[in-house]
Amino acid sequence: MRLPHVWNARPRWWLAGFAVLSTQAGAAQSLSPPDTLRLPTVRVAGLRSERFAVGSRRLSLDTLALANYRIGTLTDALSARTAIYLKNYGPGQLASITLRGTSARHTAVLWQGFNINLPSLGEADFSLLPVSGATQVDIQPGPAGGTYGNGAIGGTVLLSTETPWGRGWRGAAQADYGSFGLRAGTLEAGFSNQKVAVRTSLLYRQADNDFTYYSQEARGRVRVRQENAALQQASFTQDVTLRLGQHSEVSAAVWLTDADRQIQPGIGTNNTNAQERDQSRRLTAGYRYVSTRHEWAARAAWFEDILNYRDDVSGLSESRVRTSQAQAEHTWRFASNASVRLGGEAQHFEAQVDGYGAAPRTENRYSGFTLFRYDPRPRLQLSLNLRQALLPGRKPPLTPTAGAEWLAWQAGAHTVRLKANASRSYRAPTLNERYWRPGGNPNLLPEESFGYEGGAVHVLDLAPAHLRLQTELTAYHQLVDNWVQWTPGASYWSPRNLRQVRAQGLEASSQLTWQPGAYRLTVRGSYAFTQSRKTKGATDDADPVGRQLPFVPLHTAVLSTDHSWRGWQLSTAFTYTGYRYTDASASEFLPSFPLLNASVGRTLAVRPGWKLLALAQGYNLLNLDYQSYQNRAMPLRHGSLSLRVLWR
C-alpha cells in the first residue's frame, strides 16, 4: 500500500502502484507520484513487481517525503517518518531494522530489484544507506518470499529510482551545517529527453558527533561529551537509461557508498578507539524488451561490500564480499486482466573474510519464480507468486505468496477495500552463520515462516473540499520456524536452529491531505502494536517461551504534519517508541521515548528557472535524554541549517 506524500487526487492511484505500457493507451492505473503523471508520448515500461504484491500493506516515501533528509540516511528518514523501530547505536552508527517483530536479518533490502543486505551479516545497516541513493523508498511489511526472495520474512524495503522522461536538464546543490560538527553537501544533476535519461547524485557528509549526554556517575548526574563517534560518509549514484526504439531499453546504475566511522563506545565502557570502514560498490545493468503482450528483461549486478573494523584490543578484522548475480524474467499479459511472470535468479558470493580463515569462501544460490496476477472482476485483484530457492546442500520449501484485494464498498466519496495476503517465506543462513570461525555452522537449515494478514482501507475523497482521508487497518500473524540463535557452547558461541517465534500485531495508519487554496496540509499518523514471542525452543535453548523478544517495542507510533503556503513550509514529526526489553526473559527494559523533530523553510524563486530553499531543522526538540539501543548515548536537542539551490 502506498501512502502518497503529495497531493494526488487520482482516486485509484493506490491500487497497486504499477506502471504500465503507456504507449498502449496509458491504460489503467498509473500511479506513481507526479513525475509519471506527465507521461511522455513514448515509453518503454514494464510491470513493476509490486503489481504482483496484491493485498499487502505498503508504505512509500517519495522524493517529497524524503526532501528533508537529502543529506541523511535511511535511518534518519525511517525513524522520523514511520512507526518502524530501528535499533540505533548512536547518530550515524549501526541501525538495524525491526519489521513486524522480527530481526534485521528478516528484512530484505532491495535496490533496483537486487538484495543488498550484507551477505556476511545477512542484514543492512540503514545508516550506510544515504537517502540520496534512491528517489523512492517503499516498505512492504510482512512476509513475501514468493515475491522478493530470500529474507523477506519481516518485510521488504525497496529502493528505486524513478526515471523521468522528457524533462530536460535539471540540477540542485545543497549545503548543510549543523550541530556537533555536521557539514554536508549534495549535488544532483539530471537530464532526460525521450531517448535518454541520466541522473547523477553526489553526497558528502561529516560529523564530529561530540554531543553531550547525561550520565549518572559516582559524583552525580553529569554531562559527558561523547568520544569516538565522528564519521565521514560519501555516496555517488549514477543512473542511465537509454531507449532503443519504441520497445526496448538498456539501463545501468552505479551506487558507491563509503563510510569511515569511529564506533561510538557504550556509556561507561572502555573506549578502544574502534573504527569501521564500510564501502559498497554496486553496479547493475539491464535490458528490457516490451511488446504488447510480452516483456523480457535481463539484469546483472556486481556488488562489492567491504567492512574493515579495528580497535585497540582486537586489532584489525577485514571483510570483503563480492556478489555477482543475474536475473532474467519473462512477463506475458495473456489477457487484459491477467499476466504472468516467469523468472530465475542466480547469485554467486565470494567472501574474503578474516573470520572465515585465509581461503575465500564461495557460495551459490539460485531461485526460480512465477508471479501471477489476475483480476477476475474490475473490483477484485488476485495474485499468486511461487518461488523455489536452491541453497548449498539445502532446499528450502516452495514459498508461495497469495494475495487478494476487493473493492468492497463504494458510495459517494467513500470507498472501502478489503485485502488479505498469506505467504510462506524463507531465509538462507548468512555467510557468517555458516562460515565464521569458530562457531560457524554449515549445517544450519534455512529459516521458514508462514504468515498471513488481513485488513481494510477506507478512503474518503471530498474532491470539492480538496480533502482526502485515507485510513488503513491491518492485522497479521506469522510463525517463524528454525529461528537461528547464537548460543554459548563449551568454548565458543555457535548459531543453531533453536526456536519458533510467533509475531502478531496490528497496524493502523491514517493520512489526511487538504488543500483549500494556497495552503496545503498533510497529516499522517500511524500506530503499530507488535507482539513477538518465542513459542517453542530446542532443549538447549535456555530462553523462556512466551516473553516478548528483546528490542521489539510493543507500541510504536508516529504523527507527522507537513504544511506549505506560498513558498513557506513547516513540518513536524513526532514519534513514540515504546519500552523495549533488553533480555529474553523480559525482565529489564529500556524506557519508552518520544521524539519531536520539526523544520521550517522558505523557497524563493530568484530568477526564472532558479529557486532557493532555506531550511532550518530541529531534532529531539523535547531535549530528551534517551537511548535507542542499550547503553548508547543519543544527542539532546540539536539542529541544522541547509541552503538548496534548484535549477529548473
Binding site: 559516582a218 557504550g266 556509556i267 572502555n270 530462553d543
Partner: protein, 363 residues
C-alpha cells in the same frame, strides 16, 4: 571476621583473620599442624552478574540464605542509582569492603558491604580481571592490558587512597591471583606459569612452571597452593580443535617457598578444566570439567573420573559454611539462573539473577 569468596575471600580470612595462619605460613608448612578453625557463618551470597559485553548491564545480585531468595537483583544500581559498568569480572572482599572488578569499564568499584554504597572508584586500569588483598592497605589486580599476546600486569593498589601505586609485569593474560603469606601467586593463562611476587617488596620472586593455561588457584588448609590449568587448545586452520596438539588440563600443587610444582593431568584433552574452588574446611576441591562439576579431597591420590554434578556452569561457588554448591547458568540472553546443590550433588533449588552469573561471594 567473616569468610568471603571462593578463594580470595577465604584466603583473606585465613591469612588476615587468623594470626595463627600468618605464623603458619611463615614457617615450613609441612611440619605445622592444621590451624584451628572457628566455625564459618555466612548469611549472604553476592552473585556477580557479568552482564552483556558493551551494554553496561553488569550488577550484583543479593541472595539471602535465611529466606532462600534474592532480595535485590541489581544491588549496586539500587544502592547507588547508577549502573555498575560493563562486564563485572569478579568481586572480592577485604574487611567490610567489596572490590568489584569491572573489566570493560577499566575500573574497580569499592563498596561497603553493609549497604553496598560506593566508597571509591579505582580507575586507570587496563582490562582488569581479578582482585586480591594482602592487607587492608594493599591490594593487587590482574590486568590483561591487551589481547595481542603481550604480557599482562599486576597493579598494586593503595587501598587507603584507592589509587594505583605500582604495576608489575607478569605473563600473558594473567587471571586469578591469590595471596598466601607474604607471597602473591598469579596465574598466567596465556602461558604455563605462575608468577610469584613478594608482597612486602612487590618484587617478582620467580615463576613456577605449571600445566598450560593456568586459570584458577586456591589455598588449602595445609597452606599449599593448588593451581588448575585448562590445557592449551590447538586449532586447525578451520578453527576446529586439533586434538593431536591440544594439551590436557592439569592440577598442580605448589608448596609455598618453592618455585616448583607437582602436577597431575586430567584424563582427556577434549575439555578444559576451570573454576577451581575449595570448601570452607579447605580440604575439598571442586572444578568444572567435561560439562560437569568434579570434586576431590586434597589428600586424594587420583583425580576423579565421574562428576559430582552433571551440568556445566558459567560460575561456580561453594559456601564455606556448609559446602552448598552454587552453579550459575550463563545464557547471556535472558535473566540467568543459579542452581544450588547440596555438597552431595543433589539439587536444592534455583533462583533468578542477572545476566551471566560468573562468581559468588559468601559473606
Amino acid at each position: 571476621m567473616k569468610p568471603f569468596s571462593a578463594f580470595t575471600g577465604l584466603t583473606s580470612r585465613l591469612l588476615l583473620g587468623s594470626a595463627a595462619t600468618l605464623g603458619l605460613l611463615a614457617c615450613d608448612p609441612d611440619n605445622e599442624p592444621a590451624p584451628t578453625e572457628q566455625p564459618i557463618v555466612t548469611s549472604t551470597v553476592f552473585v556477580v552478574n557479568e552482564g552483556n559485553f558493551l551494554r553496561s548491564n553488569a550488577d550484583i545480585s543479593l541472595f539471602s540464605k535465611a529466606s532462600s531468595s534474592v532480595t535485590s537483583k541489581a544491588l549496586f544500581n539500587s544502592a547507588n542509582g547508577r549502573t555498575l559498568g560493563d562486564v563485572a569480572q569478579s568481586m572480592a572482599v577485604q574487611d567490610s569492603l567489596g572490590y568489584i572488578v569491572v573489566n570493560n569499564s577499566n575500573k574497580l568499584e569499592v563498596v561497603s558491604l553493609a549497604k553496598f554504597r560506593s566508597k571509591a572508584t579505582i580507575t586507570g586500569l587496563k582490562l582488569p580481571r581479578y582482585f586480591a588483598a594482602a592487607s587492608s592497605a594493599k591490594g593487587y589486580v590482574t590486568e590483561t592490558v591487551s589481547y595481542s599476546g603481550s604480557n599482562g600486569r599486576v597493579s598494586v593498589l593503595d587501598l587507603k587512597t584507592n589509587t594505583i601505586s605500582k604495576s608489575i609485569e607478569v605473563g600473558v593474560q594473567p587471571e586469578k591471583l591469590l595471596v598466601a603469606g607474604s607471597r602473591l601467586y598469579v596465574t598466567n593463562s596465556g602461558g604455563n606459569t605462575v608468577t610469584v611476587i613478594n608482597t612486602a617488596t612487590d618484587a617478582v620472586e620467580g615463576t613456577i612452571t605449571v600445566g598450560d593455561s593456568p586459570n584458577s588457584l586456591v589455598l588449602d588448609r595445609d597452606g599449599k597452593v593448588w593451581v588448575l590449568s585448562g590445557g592449551k587448545v590447538a586449532y586447525n586452520a578451520d578453527y576446529s580443535v586439533d586434538y593431536s596438539r591440544t594439551t590436557k588440563g592439569s592440577l598442580a600443587v605448589i608448596t609455598p617457598g618453592q618455585l616448583t610444582a607437582t602436577q597431575r593431568e586430567v584424563d582427556s584433552n577434549t575439555s578444559s578444566p576451570s573454576k577451581l574452588t575449595i570448601n570452607g574446611a579447605k580440604n575439598q576441591l571442586y572444578y568444572s570439567y567435561r560439562r560437569g562439576v568434579y570434586t576431590l579431597g586434597i589428600g586424594d591420590a587420583t583425580l576423579p573420573t565421574t562428576p559430582l554434578i552433571r551440568r556445566s556452569f558459567y560460575g561456580l561457588g561453594v559456601d564455606p559454611q556448609d559446602g552448598t554448591i552454587y552453579g550459575g547458568i550463563g545464557s547471556f540472553t535472558a535473566a540467568d539462573k543459579v542452581i544450588r546443590y547440596r555438597s552431595t550433588g543433589v539439587a536444592i533449588d534455583s533462583f533468578t539473577v542477572g545476566i551471566g552469573p560468573n562468581g559468588f561471594v559468601f559473606y
